[in-house]
């Protein structure tokens, strides 16, 4: 199987390199043959990388421990779905997985555009396969997962088959971890498609709205998947790491959020180009930045240039990525500079109080946030280079910088969509914002009366109410109009309203999801924590919860040994839950880890960790957190996902307009024929 995988890889490399050249030649010489060859080579690239992935997965699933990668990242007793996930658990496998996802995106882009964007496609293929060539080179020559395990003896190096593997990192043995990395990678890799279309548009000078319209969905899908990946990562940190939180501003977490933020800026600013023909240069810059940051994220995860808790797959491949990043920047910025004359805005700004200005301010805050997070993440490297002192830039810095900017963004989430294109009158502002402001002020007063004194938490909840009322008001106003004019009931009116303009109302649903996320974030200000030593019969109180230890049990299964605390919890004197936190010891990797017990409710989570055993007393160290509003983070994430899916559905108006457009084109063609 190692040979099959290697053949797949070398063939994939050859096809990618061919498609890169054939695409460029096809575009330059307008050769249909070369362009079609490039597209077919892209499909072949997909087939060959798939072959390599199947070969590696086959070896993992059949416990073929003469393969070095399998021996290092899997073991016989690992559950099947964790064995599948071992594909992306290490450096070599995850780079192969990256290349595979790229091949899927590339094949889909080629298939979807087989009859359209014919002038752009040769260059699109060339850029996609340029990236494919880079990853194939890396996987074949630098981080090849098809190496045989060997034993160094006095007589030389000999092939060796291990009796069992080292197993998967215990921290990765958690259900959402099976889908968290694929989601993140789908997000990172997917940003290559809008980048490829932007580059093709620059090369061919076709810089109208076409490339923007073509890439909108190609940007939304990876943006959505990246968001899911980030959220699943947060869920993993919350449920596995045992410190009671879901976001720690770790460099690798930051690297994932950077392209998501710049992608968010792009998805907003692109609307100005579609509606008003403005911000053309800026949109190209944002596409370049988003792709750059996606590769930068992969570079940061792999190179080890910054210290991270996610150091699962570090190696010496950093310089290769650095060169690739430099090529991306040089190529794209040079092209942008050469095409500046073709990127002039078509309109002027009519008023500062307008939707256009709202988007500009949204982009300003998002990009300032990108800069702040990027700067804070890289500062330790800069400090080491400049003053030869290693410093840490962690949560205190990012919280101080990001929270105020996040609050400004939250405000714009509600205010922006209520501004009209071109110009918003004072009357319109008054009409749209009076009720949300009154409701928010009342809610703010109630929060103060309830004892909320933390400024940021209060402000977050105040703004959440304001934005929530703004958005729900939009649904209400639209539905009321339909109820009057089309005589529909409320539910039908909401449904028809949404389906007639899925992009707009999907966007509102996304904004509602963001509000829920912020409500969840605000809960962190009210977190309560306690720790105690417990054995059978001991009690531990935290807030209005009382935990009673009913005993400690130990157990064993093929994968790990465990110590489990049996806890009965009462709340305000009434039975509440039975919770069983565990301390596990994984046999293959010889590593201990914790299994957190969480009892989630909409109001707060009770979060219990068996942190270890006290060596002096032999009692269990039980750490208990009461984490308010965490559930809203996950609910908010799901709402963002649903809103994005809704915005991806073609709206009725869009379909009707497309039908009209095609009927018009047919009529025009018929009249031309005469």
């Amino acid at each position: 199987m190692n040979q099959v995988g290697s053949v797949g890889l070398i063939a994939a490399l050859a096809f990618a390199a061919f498609a890169l050249v054939a695409g460029a030649v096809g575009g330059k010489l307008r050769s249909l043959l070369a362009a079609r060859s490039a597209e077919r080579a892209t499909l072949a690239f997909f087939a060959m990388i798939t072959l390599a992935v199947v070969a590696l997965e086959y070896m993992i699933l059949t416990d073929d421990f003469h393969n070095a990668y399998v021996a290092q990242h899997s073991n016989r007793d690992l559950l099947t779905y964790y064995k599948v996930a071992a594909l992306w658990a290490g450096q070599e496998g995850s780079l192969l997985f990256w290349a595979w996802l790229l091949s899927i995106y590339s094949a889909l882009a080629v298939w979807q555009n087989r009859r359209k964007n014919r002038q752009l496609m040769p260059y699109v293929v060339s850029v996609l396969m340029g990236t494919g060539t880079f990853f194939s080179l890396l996987v074949f020559f630098v981080a090849n997962p098809f190496q045989e395990l060997s034993l160094v003896t006095s007589t030389g190096t000999q092939p060796f088959t291990a009796p069992d593997g080292n197993g998967l990192n215990p921290l990765l043995q958690y259900h959402p971890m099976v889908i968290h990395p694929p989601m993140l990678y789908l997000g990172y890799v997917g940003m290559v498609v809008p980048f490829a279309f932007a580059m093709a548009a620059l090369i061919t000078r076709q810089l109208g709205d076409n490339w923007i319209r073509t890439t909108r969905r190609w940007t939304m899908v990876p943006w959505m998947l990246l968001g899911c990946g980030i959220l699943l990562g947060g869920n993993w940190a919350y449920a596995v790491l045992g410190w009671g939180g879901y976001w720690g501003w770790d460099p690798v977490e930051n690297a994932s959020v950077l392209p998501w933020l710049s992608g968010t800026a792009f998805l907003h600013s692109v609307m100005i180009q579609e509606k008003r023909g403005m911000l053309k240069v800026w949109n190209v810059v944002l596409v370049i930045l988003t792709f750059f940051l996606s590769i930068f994220g992969t570079f940061l995860t792999r190179s080890g240039i910054v210290s991270s808790v996610h150091a699962f797959a570090q190696s010496n491949i950093g310089p290769f990525f650095a060169v690739f990043l430099a090529i991306i920047l040089f190529f794209s910025l040079t092209l942008l500079f050469l095409r500046l004359d073709h990127l002039k805005s078509e309109n002027k700004l009519d008023s500062i109080v307008s939707r256009e200005s709202g988007f500009l301010f949204n982009n300003w805050i998002l990009l300032a946030l990108v800069f702040a997070v990027f700067w804070g993440t890289l500062f330790p490297v800069i400090s080491k280079a400049v003053q030869n002192v290693t410093v840490t830039v962690g949560a205190p810095f990012f919280n101080k910088v990001a929270i105020p900017m996040g609050l400004l963004l939250l405000l714009l989430t509600g205010a922006g969509p209520l501004l009209a294109w071109r110009k918003t009158s004072f009357q319109s502002l008054k009409r749209n914002f009076t009720l949300p402001l009154i409701v928010a002020l009342v809610a703010g007063g109630v929060l103060l009366a309830a004892g909320v004194r933390d400024f940021y938490a209060w402000m977050t909840l105040f703004l959440s109410v304001f934005v929530g009322v703004c958005i729900l008001g939009e649904f209400w106003k639209g539905a009321r109009t339909r109820m009057k004019t089309a005589h529909e009931n409320f539910a039908l009116a909401i449904y028809n309203l949404t389906m007639r303009n899925t992009r707009r109302y999907g966007g509102y649903v996304v904004h509602l999801g963001i509000v829920l996320l912020f409500i969840g974030f605000a809960g962190q200000a009210f977190k309560v924590e306690t720790k105690g030593l417990m054995q059978q019969g001991d009690l531990l109180r935290v807030k209005n919860y009382l935990l009673r230890c009913d005993g400690l049990t130990t157990g064993d299964n093929p994968n790990y040994e465990y110590t489990r605390a049996l806890l009965t919890v009462t709340k305000d004197g009434r039975a509440f839950a039975s919770m069983h936190p565990e301390k596990r010891f994984y046999k293959a990797s010889q590593q201990p880890t914790s299994y957190v017990a969480i009892h989630p409710t909409l109001a707060e989570d009770l979060y219990v960790v068996l942190a270890g055993m006290d060596p002096d007393t032999g009692k269990a160290i039980i750490q208990v957190f009461v984490n308010p509003l965490v559930m809203w983070v996950w609910i908010g994430g799901v709402v963002v996902l649903l809103g994005t899916l809704l915005a991806l559905v073609p709206s009725r108006v869009e379909r009707e307009m497309a039908e009209l457009r095609s009927a018009h084109e047919l009529t025009a063609q018929a009249s031309d024929a005469f």
Partner: protein
């Protein structure tokens, strides 16, 4: 204009730096200090968030902090002791002085420069004449226009989006 811009940038930078410095004379706790220092076991996480079970380094650092608290030391003094013992990288964020001041100031400067850029762009946009793009005859299909009008009437949503 330039002097106003410079003054604005300086005020913004100083404001950011003063927020960054914010050292309150509150009574220290293990959690308040544990959130400001890294566990030195190699996990690259703050002391309160070290994911390692039975981490001896964490236990040792916590004992050191508890000793400082028991001796009646303030938060700043305990953090200074930890810095002397483990080096400046033990702090979860660098102190806002010397070259490290840059990490605190630059985001503020970036924010202000961004705002300046937005203001400049808005001013230019407002002065710019509208570019009239050449259109092909008959591009405004009456059927399309009628559909648009119908849609706007049926939703009653006016010019927004």
């Amino acid at each position: 204009m330039r002097s106003r811009l410079t003054t604005g940038l300086l005020i913004g930078a100083l404001a950011t730096a003063s927020v960054a410095r914010g050292d309150s004379p509150r009574k220290p706790t293990l959690e308040s200090i544990g959130n400001q220092v890294m566990c030195t076991c190699g996990c690259n996480a703050p002391l309160t968030k070290c994911p390692h079970i039975d981490c001896s380094t964490k236990a040792e650092m916590e004992a050191y902090i508890q000793k400082g608290i028991a001796e009646g030391k303030g938060e700043t003094a305990i953090l200074q002791d930890l810095t002397l013992r483990y080096g400046v990288q033990v702090l979860t964020a660098p102190p806002a002085r010397g070259f490290n001041l840059a990490v605190w100031i630059l985001p503020g400067i970036g924010l202000l420069l961004g705002l300046t850029a937005v203001v400049v762009i808005v001013r230019r946009w407002r002065r710019r004449p509208t570019v009239v793009l050449p259109t092909t005859s008959g591009s405004a299909d009456p059927n399309v226009l009628a559909a648009v009008e119908e849609e706007m009437k049926s939703t009653g949503l006016g010019v927004r989006d």
